[in-house]
């Protein structure tokens, strides 16, 4: 049995230690918001937070998550109103939506580390996330919008 902390809740799963965290989340814990896109750390659809860091869960063995805090899209905010989610709604970012959990999880770490990201910061942080629908221009705008919202919230 492996003990995990996901979105602040404790879980016990029976899995081989080399099983990727992605499949533990999706197939054993039924948290399907985290997506499978490539399986080889190329697309970012599977991005989750491990102790606040963005990781590709498709190549992260579940053993690495033991004793750490795992946060998935389902736990990004309690009210689904993280500044990024608000900005995504405001600008209607998603098309098919399949990549968007990963985009949001990558962007969340960026925004925490760089509250005022430049275009270059956004390019650097987000280029590991593929969007086949091509929503990049809106993602970029929405990250900047979220940065503003985040500032307003902290100043309020």
């Amino acid at each position: 049995m492996i003990n995990l902390n996901v979105n602040g809740k404790a879980f016990q799963v029976s899995a081989e230690p080399d099983m990727p965290l992605l499949w533990v989340l999706r197939d054993l814990l039924h948290l399907t918001g985290t997506k499978f896109g490539c399986g080889v750390a190329q697309c970012g659809a599977c991005t989750v937070h491990l102790n606040g860091e963005a990781v590709r869960s498709c190549i992260t063995p579940v053993s690495r998550a033991v004793g750490k805090r795992v946060v998935t899209i389902e736990g990004l905010s309690t009210d689904h109103l993280h500044p990024l989610q608000q900005a995504w709604l405001e600008l209607d970012v998603p098309q098919c939506g399949y990549c968007q959990s990963g985009q949001l999880m990558s962007a969340a770490v960026l925004l925490k580390e760089k509250p005022d990201p430049t275009d270059a910061d956004i390019d650097a942080a987000m280029s590991g996330n593929i969007c086949r629908c091509g929503t990049y221009p809106r993602i970029k705008k929405a990250i900047k919008e979220a940065a503003k919202l985040q500032k307003e919230n902290t100043h309020a």
């Binding site: 490539c38 098919c96 939506g97």
Partner: protein, 725 residues
């Protein structure tokens, strides 16, 4: 509108499947939906009269004011989850917040208004549903008004509707309160629709209805289907195109914890396990012997050689005027181009998948599909049961771009075969590699083009031969080819507006057959024809010593919509004015799916490679129902077009696909995405599409910009192949 009949019973059984983790998957089962039943529709819950109001197949109003809208088209990113409800809301006067949306079941009531099947494709949804969905809303409003007037004891003529209420003076009743009464009325035969000046939603736009669930992980794609007792299947396919499994050794696979069964199916060998990871590990150690199949001798190098030879001779006639050979002989100058377009994989973000449960004589399917009724029929055939016994639940599509519309339902059929052979409730999941290698590519094409110019520099002879596999096939049950020409191989060339003003021309087509399966891919034939035409025109303008925009303006003088897009794009891009040092522009304009799109691409060359800085786009799609949705399709289509132009190619050697995943099938990423500036031509012309017309001009405009920057004409795609160090 059909009138209500007693026999017509539409039964919605709304259920919620609640899984262990608290995950909720809502689904509905529609029972006994014959054409009439779906189209009319007084519902009977437990046979006690109506429990909701469903004046047609597209709209149901519940006593709790819920407005349930059923889509005859699927949401794959293009926004129909919002656009179709806008059309209903425009006439219904409901509260936007009360709307809930679902995909339709595979019932003929939801057939496309211009094609005899349920299909989402060809950028047709908005214009083809413009009247049907508005009428659905208007009919309901008339009936609700009548029921409301009756309930309030006022004349119908004193009533108006607003935001989900029937209002008369200071009295009002909600739609929900009179839904059951309305259900007992006979729907009016014809209802007047509102004039453009009265529109509240159309042309103005609203926020997408699917965004909330797409930002919190709750949107359910085919990949996310999970039920108790469901297992996951991963399939080993033949490494060689067209190969079939002969035998297999599963002894190692079956020793992997979680692996339950290994079964042979026509397309391969499936490992079935408790979860994806176990199934995938099982497949990795599976030993399969394959027949080599027809594909073993197939290679891209040889294919190019064969097609070049083919295109050197005249193919089947797709367009002809005058005597092109004689006219070419009289030309003062001849410009030639031989173009190569590789196979392309769609590679939508969500790999192919399908969940199937077979119980006794019936079957239930959950998947993301562009043609649910085709999948239903194919599944029924495999199982030897009637179509009515196959339920298809269409989930959100994690991108499709044509890939989820195969006439033989390839991945759905495979899942059904696995369920049949294993007798298990399974979800088939393809890995990215499976997806990349399984075929259904945009066909490989060669174009050979020769253009003769007159003394004034304008084209007088255009000789154009194309070689490439047809998507339509005479032997196919669905979309059979009639005649010799598959229109999708030549669209954009044989109907090119440029040829109008070329007195002598010939367009020929060779349609060889190959083992590699091919399919429509976002904007279909226009992916290559627009490139060949727009790069040629640019080359011809250059040979004539003319500005490429001026040259196009002359040729397109009788094509006002092309011109409007061209001029707007040129103006907004500041064509030829104030460009940064080392920056160059290229332009292209093309009509596809009834819309006219022009783009200006701005590039520079850095470290010997092209860098794309900006794409300015203008579209005339007629009325833009949801303008921001159109803009978003243009943005996405341009990113798609840049990926295709710069990077995309699928090569084969000895029948094996040489690409695996996004590391060797590159797609555009954030850091290389240019600024995209989209403008909509104000237009009252005929409505066209949005999802596909944005793609065709991008690649040629980019190639023309690279020519402006380097003097290098790129005839073979992808572009980056020519800039490798």
């Amino acid at each position: 509108m059909k009138t209500t009949t007693d026999k017509s019973r539409r039964e919605f059984l709304k259920s919620m499947a609640i899984l262990g983790s608290g995950l909720v998957i809502p689904f509905h089962i529609v029972k006994g939906m014959g054409r009439g039943a779906a189209a009319a529709g007084v519902a009977a819950a437990a046979g006690n009269g109506p429990s909701f109001f469903a004046p047609n197949a597209f709209l149901t109003i519940m006593p709790d004011n819920t407005i349930q809208i059923t889509l005859a088209h699927v949401e794959m990113g293009q926004g129909v989850w919002t656009t179709l409800p806008m059309l209903i809301a425009e006439e219904l006067d409901c509260d936007w917040k009360d709307i809930s949306v679902q995909h339709c079941p595979p019932d003929p009531a939801y057939n496309h208004t211009v094609m005899p099947l349920i299909i989402t494709g060809g950028s047709t949804t908005t214009w083809s549903e413009f009247d049907r969905y508005r009428k659905a809303g208007a009919t309901a409003r008339v009936m609700l008004t009548e029921a409301g007037a009756h309930k309030m004891g006022v004349p119908v003529s004193s009533c108006r509707t607003e935001n989900g209420y029937v209002i008369s003076g200071d009295k009002r009743v909600s739609y929900g309160e009179v839904a059951i009464d309305a259900a007992l009325l006979t729907p009016p035969k014809d209802v007047p629709l509102r004039k453009a000046g009265e529109w509240k939603y159309i042309g103005k736009g609203v926020k997408r209805l699917d965004t909330p669930e797409k930002v919190n992980g709750m949107a359910k794609f085919g990949m996310d289907v999970q039920y108790p007792g469901m297992l996951t299947a991963v399939v080993a396919h033949s490494p060689v195109m067209g190969g079939r499994p002969v035998s297999f050794d599963a002894s190692k696979a079956l020793r992997i914890a979680g692996v339950r069964k290994v079964v042979k199916i026509p397309s391969g060998v499936a490992v079935i396990a408790e979860h994806f990871w176990a199934a995938k590990k099982g497949r990795d150690v599976l030993k399969v012997t394959w027949t080599d199949g027809k594909g073993a001798s197939f290679g891209s190098v040889d294919q190019a050689k064969r097609y070049r030879e083919m295109a050197s001779t005249d193919g089947d006639e797709a367009a002809k005027k005058g005597d092109v050979v004689a006219a070419m002989g009289r030309a003062t100058k001849v410009v030639e181009g031989e173009f190569l377009f590789p196979y392309l994989a769609h590679a939508p973000m969500e790999p192919m998948n399908c969940t199937v449960k077979v119980t006794g004589g019936s079957c239930e399917i959950w998947t993301g599909t562009q043609m649910p009724a085709v999948d239903q029929a194919n599944a029924a055939e495999i199982l030897g049961i009637s179509k009515e016994n196959v339920k298809v639940n269409t989930m959100f599509l994690g991108g499709a771009f044509g890939r989820r519309a195969t006439p033989e339902s390839d991945f759905v059929s495979e899942a059904v075969e696995i369920a049949k052979a294993s007798k298990e409730f399974i979800k088939l999941v393809w890995t990215r590699e499976d997806d990349m290698k399984a075929g259904y590519y945009r066909p490989f094409f060669i174009h050979k083009v020769k253009v003769g110019l007159g003394a004034d520099g304008m084209p007088t002879a255009w000789h154009h031969n194309i070689a490439g596999q047809a998507i339509m096939d005479r032997e196919k049950k669905l979309f059979p080819l009639s005649g010799k020409i598959d229109g999708s191989s030549v669209e954009g060339v044989n109907d090119s507006p440029y040829l109008d003003s070329v007195p002598d021309h010939f367009v020929g087509l060779h349609s060889p057959k190959e083992v590699v399966p091919v399919l429509w891919y976002r904007s279909v034939g226009n992916t290559h024809t627009a490139y060949a035409m727009e790069v040629m025109i640019d080359a011809v303008a250059h040979a004539a010593g003319k500005d490429p925009i001026e040259y196009r303006r002359v040729l397109l003088k009788n094509h006002s919509r092309h011109l409007a897009a061209l001029n707007l794009a040129a103006e907004k891009a500041g064509w030829g004015k104030g460009l940064a040092e080392g920056h160059f522009q290229g332009i292209a304009v093309h009509e596809a799916f009834g819309s006219f799109v022009a783009q200006v691409v701005e590039v520079s060359i850095r470290n010997g490679k092209p860098v794309v800085h900006k794409v300015t786009c203008a579209i005339d799609c007629g009325l833009a129902v949801n303008p921001d949705g159109v803009v978003s399709q243009m943005e996405g289509g341009i990113v798609w077009g840049l990926t295709m132009a710069l990077y995309s190619e699928i090569l084969l050697d000895k029948g094996q696909v040489m690409h695996n995943n996004f590391y060797d099938y590159k797609v555009l990423r954030m850091f290389e995405t240019p600024v995209i500036d989209v403008h909509i031509v104000p237009s009252t012309e005929k409505m066209g599409g949005a999802g596909e017309p944005c793609v065709p001009p991008t690649a040629p405009a980019l190639a023309n910009a690279i020519f402006a920057a380097t003097g290098k004409r790129i005839f073979e795609l992808p572009i980056m192949k020519h800039f490798e160090v």
